[in-house]
Amino acid sequence: MSKEISDVICPGCGVLCDDITVNLKENVIVSNYNACTKGNTKFLDINANRLLKPTIKMNGTNKEVDLDTAISKTAEILLNAESPFLYGWSATTCEAQRIGIQLAKELKGLVDSTSSFCHGVSLSTLLENSWSTATLGEVMNRADVILYWGSNPIESHPRHMSRYTTVPRGIFRQAGKEERTVVVIDIRKTRTANITDRFLEVEPNRDFELISVLRSLVNGDRPDIETVANVTLKEVNRLLELIKEADFCAIFFGLGLLMSAGTYHNVSNLLSFVAELNQFTKVVAIPMIGHYNMIGFNHVCSWLTGFPYGVDFRKEYPMFNPGETTTVELLQQKEIDAMLCVAADPVSTLPYSLTSYLKEIPVITMDRQMTPTTRISKIVIPVALSGIEVSGTAYRMDSVPLYMKNIISPPDGILSDEMILTKLLELVKEAK
């Protein structure tokens, strides 16, 4: 029996496109409309390399066990550890994240998401700056100048430009692209720059200087230089005039800005620049979030503990110190002695010098498919894919919460992250 479901939310990236139409044939997704190549892979290749049975590694071989055994063994490992570390969370629902943070609190352990070495860092600059922001819908309806700084949406978020920023016609932008000026600032000419009006090629690692010159120009100074970061002062002035004369300017900053020299200081400087520009016109800054619910973890963790990521409960109260309680430093200092990895693949994303330590400690992984992390894990618990097999809340890149539907049911015996974490939390509470 075939069925068509419309307005499905795609868990492919931070744009969370909410207009996907999915065709089902007896609980199998056969085709979809409107999803990009990236989202299409999520829908159609849902069963690729799928894990179906929980396993425990014994004497070097993986032995299949039942779910209750795997969960009780996980609880045992986490309870016996002095510094259990709960990592991941960027590709699961807010409901699961909430229980995960409660679990870290009960275990007196640490909790951190992938955002500690990604866009979560730009959230911590909120502590230093004000943040002028808007939703993507406002950008679509009002923005006449769009600036992409250090991000390449055509390859990272393929539908970002067509769904919200550049091409669509909005309420106050009835001519669509013709009424907008799109600028790309990057270290090389990306595919995004192929269809934009202007492109500024900035020298790698010198974004901070460019932002500083822009700030000094906004404040009325006349710097005695001809070029900055390989961009002529004339071009910088032209860019500034363009933004100042705009009705509504949206600046999207990506990891190119965050991961070059200066790291979060670049973002901090950019946000100060945006705040200063607001004396002339409305300017907003939005981070280009990669994982579909990465910013969701920052919100959930903020309202539960007061801090956006990297929270340490070992002293029975939440403590946040980036550079001490964050993933990279914890692995570097070998401070943790057990790790629960939910909806993340640290072995693929982190350098070998850090992940080599994971072979020395018990790692428990909850994932949908086989990844390099599941290969080194002591316990592997298969889960359902949030957003397609499980309903739940996720935050879009502009911090708008959206409720994702479950469109198909997971394979027999496979539970959601939330259900497994709830069982784990109950066992931990009982043991105490």
Binding site: Y33, N34, C36, I154, S162, K359, T371
Partner: protein
């Protein structure tokens, strides 16, 4: 480096979760123009093909109103054999072209949907597409639609280049970031 990663090299390639997964990179081709074809023709203006000169034949070849085999000297005379081979290779994409000369290459498409949203004729059929929103179901008169992660051309007869007054609209080609859409004439 690989020696240090024993648990990685054992694995076959599994779907990488990086930002750029699913995005294909292809080298970009040079656009086909009349001079590229003209240079490879005999340039004798012999009129065997029925056209007044070789340039006129070139233009009609580009419009697909004549066929290359009508230029008989190119195939009969040995001195042009090499040029004939090159020319065959050069105009091969023309055979893929639909009525209005649009080529949509799946290999390059990333399904961004820019063509769906910017197409003015699409907006007359399904107004929601002009606001960035995808359509709920395949409309019989839609031109562009993203299906299974790739853009598809459905009803090309609705294109402004095809319907009278046949405007020279190239907006889909201009907005395609990967140059997957090419309009040949």
């Amino acid at each position: 480096m690989l020696e240090k990663l024993p648990y990685l090299i054992e694995l076959q390639c599994i779907k990488c979760l990086s930002e750029s997964s699913g995005v294909k990179r292809m080298s970009e081709k040079k656009r086909l123009n009349a001079m590229m074809i003209y240079k490879l023709l005999p340039q004798t203006n012999c009129r065997i093909c029925g056209e007044p000169n070789c340039m006129a034949f070139t233009v009609k070849l580009l419009n697909r109103s004549v066929e290359l085999k009508q230029c008989t000297p190119l195939f009969d005379e040995e001195q042009y054999a090499e040029k004939a081979e090159k020319l065959k290779e050069l105009i091969a994409p023309l055979e893929l072209a639909k009525e209005t000369g649009i080529i949509l290459e799946d290999e390059k498409c990333i399904g961004c949907g820019n063509c769906v949203v910017c197409c003015p004729a699409n907006a007359t059929v399904a107004p929601e597409t002009s606001g960035g929103k995808g359509i709920k179901e395949a409309h019989p008169d839609i031109i562009f639609l993203v299906e299974k992660g790739l853009a598809r051309i459905y009803k090309l007869e609705r294109c402004r280049r095809y319907e009278p007054p046949r405007t020279n609209c190239r907006v889909c080609e201009m907005m395609c970031p990967t140059k997957a859409i090419e309009i040949l004439q």
